[in-house]
C-alpha cells in the first residue's frame, strides 16, 4: 500500500459516505469515461473512414443526429455501425452515469438516515429527468 493510500485509509470516516461509497462512485465514473472514450473513438474513426472528403460546412448543414426522428431509426443507424450513432451512444452513456451518481448519493443519504439530503437528491434526480425528457422535447 502506497503512502497516499495509507493516508486515505486513515482519514476520518463519514458514516454516510464511507470509503466504499467513494470507491463505488469513482468506479462508476471510470467505467463511464472508458466506455465513452472507446465508443466515441470508434464512432469518430468510422465517420472519417466512411466519408473522408466530408467538409465542416456539410457537417453542420446536415447534422445527422437531427435525422434520428425515432428510436427505431437511431437503432438502425447504430446496428449499421454508423459513426454518429456510435458517438451518440457514448454520450448517452455519460449522461446515464451522471444521473446514476446522483441516484447513488440519494441511496447513500437514505441509508445514512439523512432524510433531508436524501429528499434533496431525489428531487435533483427528478429534475434531471424532467430536463432531459420534458423540458427539451417541449422546446422542440
Amino acid at each position: 500500500m502506497s503512502e497516499a493510500d495509507e493516508a486515505l485509509a486513515a482519514l476520518p470516516i463519514d458514516p454516510t459516505f464511507p470509503p466504499s461509497a467513494y470507491q463505488r462512485v469513482s468506479t462508476l465514473l471510470r467505467a463511464g469515461v472508458i466506455g465513452f472514450f472507446i465508443l466515441a473513438t470508434i464512432g469518430m474513426v468510422s465517420g472519417l473512414v466512411r466519408n473522408p472528403s466530408a467538409t465542416v460546412g456539410s457537417l453542420v448543414s446536415s447534422n445527422p443526429s437531427a435525422e434520428y426522428g425515432s428510436v427505431g431509426t437511431y437503432l438502425d443507424h447504430l446496428f449499421g455501425l454508423g459513426g454518429n450513432a456510435i458517438i451518440l451512444l457514448g454520450i448517452f452513456l455519460m449522461i446515464a452515469v451522471t444521473v446514476g451518481r446522483v441516484v447513488y448519493a440519494a441511496i447513500d443519504f437514505y441509508r445514512g438516515r439523512e432524510r433531508i439530503l436524501a429528499a434533496l437528491s431525489v428531487t435533483v434526480v427528478l429534475l434531471l429527468v424532467v430536463g432531459l425528457f420534458l423540458v427539451g422535447p417541449s422546446i422542440r
Partner: protein, 284 residues
C-alpha cells in the same frame, strides 16, 4: 475545411482546454466555444452543444480521479446541486424566450462585469494555502457540511467546514441559470461559491466543482438535443481531447499547492470575464 483536419485540430486544442479545466474546476467549454466559433466557423449553437459534451467529459474524467482521492466532497457537492439544477432548467427554458430578443448581449456584459468584480477579492486570498476552519453556520452544522482530505504536498490531513451556506446556495442557483442560458458548466461561478462563500480549500473547491458541472450540464442538455445542436463529429474530438487533458490534469492537481491552483483560476477568470464582455459588446 476537411473534417479530418478539424478533428485533428480539435483533439489538440481540447486536450489543452481539458487540462486547464481540470485544474481550475471548469469544463473547458469557456475556452472551446470561442475557438470553435472564431477559428473554425462553427455556428454558436453547435459550438455550445460541443462544449456541453466536453463539460460532461471533463466532469466524468476528473470525478473518477478526484472522488477516488477523496478530494471531491460528495456531501457538499450533492447538497449544492439542489440549487444548480433548478437554475439550469430555468436558464435553459429562458434561452427559448430570449433567443429572439436583444437582451442576450446585455446579459453577457452583465455576467462579465460580475465575474470581473470577483477578481480583486480572489486575488486578496491568493496568499492563503488553507482557509481557517470556523464553527460554520446553522445549515452547515445541521447537514454536517464538512470534511477532510489528505494534502499530498503538505503531507497532512486538512479539515474544513462550510460557512455562509445561504450565500453559496444563491451563487449556485445563479451558476445554474448561467449554465442553462449559455450551455456551459459555469464552473467558474461554482468555484467562487465553494471558495469564497463556503471557504473550502482550493483543491476541494475545484474538485467538487468539477464533480458538479456534469450534473448541471446534464440538466440543460435535453434542450441542446431537442434543438439538434449536438453534432457528433464535432462533439467527439472535443470530448475525447478534453478527456485526455482532464485525465492529465487530475493526476497533477494533488501535487500542486492551493495557492498555485488559485492563481491558475484567477488567470482564467480574468480572461473569461473580458471575453464575455467583448462577446456581449460585439453582439450589440
Amino acid at each position: 475545411m476537411l473534417v479530418l483536419v478539424l478533428v485533428v485540430a480539435l483533439l489538440a486544442i481540447a486536450t489543452g482546454a481539458g487540462f486547464l479545466g481540470s485544474l481550475a474546476g471548469l469544463g473547458g467549454g469557456v475556452i472551446l466555444t470561442p475557438v470553435l466559433v472564431l477559428f473554425f466557423g462553427i455556428p454558436f449553437g453547435e459550438a455550445v452543444g460541443a462544449s456541453a459534451i466536453s463539460v460532461l467529459a471533463t466532469s466524468t474524467t476528473t470525478g473518477a480521479a478526484y472522488v477516488h482521492d477523496r478530494l471531491t466532497d460528495l456531501r457538499i457537492g450533492n447538497f449544492l446541486q439542489i440549487a444548480t439544477v433548478p437554475g439550469a432548467l430555468i436558464g435553459a427554458a429562458a434561452t427559448v424566450l430570449l433567443a429572439h430578443t436583444s437582451y442576450v448581449p446585455f446579459l453577457l456584459i452583465a455576467l462579465g462585469v460580475v465575474l470581473l468584480s470577483t477578481v480583486p477579492g480572489t486575488v486578496a486570498m491568493g496568499h492563503e494555502e488553507s482557509p481557517p476552519t470556523s464553527g460554520g453556520d446553522r445549515i452547515s452544522q445541521r447537514l454536517r457540511l464538512e470534511g477532510n482530505y489528505f494534502d499530498r504536498l503538505q503531507r497532512r490531513v486538512i479539515h474544513y467546514r462550510g460557512q455562509n451556506s445561504n450565500q453559496a446556495l444563491g451563487v449556485m442557483f445563479g451558476a445554474g441559470i448561467v449554465a442553462g442560458l449559455f450551455g456551459i458548466g459555469s464552473g467558474v461561478l461554482k468555484v467562487l461559491a465553494l471558495d469564497r462563500a463556503l471557504r473550502l480549500p482550493m483543491k476541494v473547491s475545484t474538485a467538487t466543482s468539477n464533480f458538479m458541472i456534469g450534473v448541471t450540464a446534464t440538466a440543460g442538455i435535453g434542450v441542446l438535443f431537442a434543438g439538434n445542436l449536438i453534432v457528433p463529429m464535432i462533439a467527439a474530438p472535443v470530448a475525447i481531447g478534453t478527456t485526455l487533458g482532464a485525465y492529465g490534469g487530475s493526476r497533477l492537481l494533488p501535487f500542486l499547492t492551493n495557492r498555485l491552483i488559485r492563481w491558475v483560476f484567477i488567470g482564467i477568470l480574468v480572461i473569461l470575464s473580458v471575453e464575455t464582455i467583448v462577446r456581449g459588446a460585439v453582439s450589440l
